[in-house]
C-alpha cells in the first residue's frame, strides 16, 4: 500500500528543494560575478588614473 502523502512529500519536497538550492546558488553566483567584475573595473580605473 503506497503512502501517497509521504510519496508526495519526498517527490514534491525533494524536487522543490533541489530547484530552490540551485536557484539560490544561481543568484549568489550572479551577485558574486557582478561584484568581482565591478571590483576589477574599479581597480583598473584607479591604476589608469595613477599612471596619468
Amino acid at each position: 500500500m503506497i503512502d501517497w502523502g509521504l510519496t508526495a512529500k519526498i517527490a514534491g519536497g525533494g524536487f522543490g528543494m533541489v530547484f530552490l538550492i540551485l536557484a539560490i546558488l544561481a543568484l549568489i553566483v550572479w551577485i558574486v560575478g557582478l561584484g568581482v567584475r565591478r571590483i576589477s573595473k574599479n581597480s583598473s580605473r584607479s591604476k589608469e588614473k595613477s599612471q596619468e
Binding site: I2, D3, L6, T7, K9, I10, A11, G13, G14, F15, M17, V18, F19, I21, L22, A23, I24, L25, A26, L27, I28, V29, W30, V32, G33, V36, R37, S40
Partner: protein
C-alpha cells in the same frame, strides 16, 4: 584428492553461464566499442569473477541462529551444500531453523540430540548477498567483499571519487552563465519521475529512491544512496547507472529530436562565454558547500568532497593534490569501486524479475531527465530575450562530459557554425551538483 567435485564445475549453473555472457557483453562494449571502458571493463570482470563458483572473492560469512529453544531432531544439510532462502537447515522438536538468505553451508555447529537455546549458532554459511547489517550481520571474507564492505558499505569510496570528480570539473562555463544551474535542476525531474514509477511498480520507498537516483546519472551518488537505503539492489542500480551513462549517445538524441524542431536545434549561441575571474572560481566551491550543506546536511559527504576537490583545482597552490586527485587517486578508487560493484552481481541476486524492472526504470529515469531538461530550456526561452539552444537542457543529465558532447555533435549537424560544447558544460556540471543534492534529500527524508 582434488577432483571435479571440489571444483566450481559442480556448482556452475545456467544462471552463472548467463551472467558470464552478460559480463562478456559489458567487456565487449568497453573494449571493442570503446564505451566507457574505464567503467565497463572492471564491472564486467567483477561479474565474471563472482559467477565462477567457489572462487570466494565476494563471500560473506553469516552465522545462522535458532529463534527458539529445543532439541535437534535432524540436521537436513551438510557442509558444502548450496541452499536458497527459506530452506530448512535443521529440524528441532519445537520448530525448524530456516536459512534467511541463499548461500552454501560452511560449518554445521549442532548434531542430532543436542539441546540448543534461542540465539545459539546452528551453522555458519557463506553467501554473496548484500544484507541489512542490523538484521543479518555478515563478516566479509573475500578480497572484493572486503573492498565492498569497507569501501562502499562504509560510504568511503563514493565521496572520495566525488572529490576526484571535483578536481576534474571546470565550473567556468556554469559561472559564466548562471542560468544553466536551472537546467541542471530541471533534469533532476527524471529522478523523481522514476521514483514514482518505481513505487507504482511495487518497490518500497527506500528502493524507489535508489532507483530514482539513477536519473541523476552520477555513479558515485547512485552507489552512495543505494548502499544506505537499499544495499540488496546495489548491483542492479549501479550497473544500470554506469551502463546508461555509456549509452547516453544512443539514449538522448531521439528524445532531443522528438521534443525540438529543426529551427530550435539550429539556434545559434555565441561561442564566447564571458571570462570568469579566478576569484569567482575559488569562491564558488566554498560558498556552495556552505549553502548546500546548511540546507541539506545529509549531502555533506558528497558535496563537501566535490567542492574540496574543486578547490584543490582552482586554488592554484596545491597542484600536487589536484594532480593526484585527477589521476592516480581516481584510477585506484575506480578500480576498487567498479570491480566490487561488478562482483555484487551473482546470478542468484541479479537474475530476478526485480532486476529487469530496475534496468527498465533506469532507462525511464535517463529519458525523463533528458526530456525535462530540454523542456525547461524551451520554457526559459519564452521569458528570455537571448535565446538558448534547447538541446543544452539535455546536458543537465550529468553524464559529464558525454551528454555535453552529444549536444555539441547534434548542434553541429544542424548548424555547422554552432559550438555548443562549452554552453552545454554549464548544465552538465550543474546537474552533477543537482544529483548530489537530490541524493542528500533522499537520505535526509528516508534514511
Amino acid at each position: 584428492m582434488f577432483g571435479l567435485l571440489e571444483s566450481g564445475f559442480q556448482q556452475f549453473g545456467w544462471g552463472n553461464a548467463l551472467m558470464l555472457l552478460i559480463a562478456g557483453g559489458l567487456i565487449y562494449l568497453g573494449i571493442a566499442k570503446k564505451m566507457e571502458p574505464l567503467l565497463l571493463i572492471p564491472i564486467g570482470f567483477g561479474i565474471l569473477l563472482v559467477n565462477l563458483p567457489l572462487g570466494g572473492v565476494m563471500d560473506y560469512r553469516l552465522e545462522v541462529r535458532s529463534l527458539e529453544a529445543g532439541n535437534v531432531v535432524e540436521v537436513q544439510m551438510q557442509e558444502g551444500e548450496r541452499f536458497q532462502e527459506g530452506n530448512i537447515l535443521c529440524q528441532l522438536d519445537s520448530g525448524a531453523v530456516v536459512t534467511p538468505i541463499y548461500g552454501r553451508v560452511e560449518d554445521i555447529k549442532v548434531s542430532p540430540g543436542q539441546r540448543i537455546e534461542a540465539g545459539d549458532v546452528v551453522a555458519s554459511v557463506l553467501t554473496t548477498a548484500q544484507t541489512d547489517q542490523s538484521e543479518l550481520p555478515t563478516e566479509p571474507l573475500g578480497l572484493l567483499s572486503r573492498i565492498f564492505a569497507f569501501g562502499i558499505m562504509w560510504q568511503v569510496i563514493p565521496p572520495l571519487i566525488f572529490l576526484c570528480l571535483g578536481a576534474l570539473t571546470d565550473f567556468g562555463p556554469m559561472l559564466a552563465n548562471p542560468k544553466t544551474l536551472f537546467l541542471g535542476a530541471g533534469a533532476q525531474f527524471g529522478v523523481y519521475f522514476a521514483f514514482f514509477a518505481a513505487l507504482l511498480s511495487g518497490f518500497t520507498i527506500p528502493e524507489a529512491c535508489s532507483i530514482g537516483i539513477i536519473g541523476g546519472a552520477e555513479g558515485p551518488t547512485t552507489v552512495y544512496v543505494t548502499s544506505i537505503l537499499a544495499p540488496h539492489i546495489i548491483g542492479a542500480t549501479a550497473v544500470a547507472c554506469y551502463s546508461y551513462m555509456a549509452l547516453v549517445p544512443i539514449i538522448q538524441p531521439p528524445i532531443i529530436r522528438l521534443l525540438t524542431s529543426k529551427k530550435e536545434r539550429a539556434i545559434y549561441m555565441k561561442p564566447q562565454l564571458r571570462e570568469v575571474a579566478q576569484l569567482e572560481k575559488i569562491l564558488f566551491p566554498i560558498i556552495s558547500a556552505i549553502v548546500i550543506i546548511l540546507i541539506v546536511p545529509m549531502a555533506a559527504p558528497l558535496i563537501g568532497c566535490f567542492m574540496v576537490g574543486n578547490l584543490f583545482r582552482e586554488s592554484g597552490v596545491v597542484e600536487r593534490l589536484s594532480n593526484t586527485a585527477q589521476t592516480t587517486l581516481i584510477d585506484i578508487l575506480t578500480i576498487f569501486l567498479t570491480l566490487s560493484i561488478g562482483a555484487s552481481m551473482p546470478a542468484e541476486n541479479f537474475l530476478l524479475p526485480k532486476t529487469l524492472l530496475v534496468l527498465i526504470l533506469g532507462v525511464v529515469a535517463f529519458a525523463t531527465a533528458t526530456a525535462a531538461g530540454v523542456i525547461l530550456a524551451k520554457i526559459m526561452n519564452l521569458f528570455s530575450k537571448e535565446k538558448i539552444n534547447p538541446m543544452i537542457g539535455a546536458a543537465g543529465v550529468s553524464a559529464v562530459p558525454m551528454a555535453a558532447r552529444v549536444v555539441q555533435v547534434m548542434g553541429q549537424k544542424e548548424n555547422p557554425r554552432n559550438f555548443l560544447l562549452m554552453h552545454a558544460m554549464g548544465p552538465n556540471v550543474a546537474g552533477a551538483i543537482g544529483a548530489a543534492i537530490a541524493g542528500g534529500v533522499f537520505l535526509g527524508m528516508v534514511g
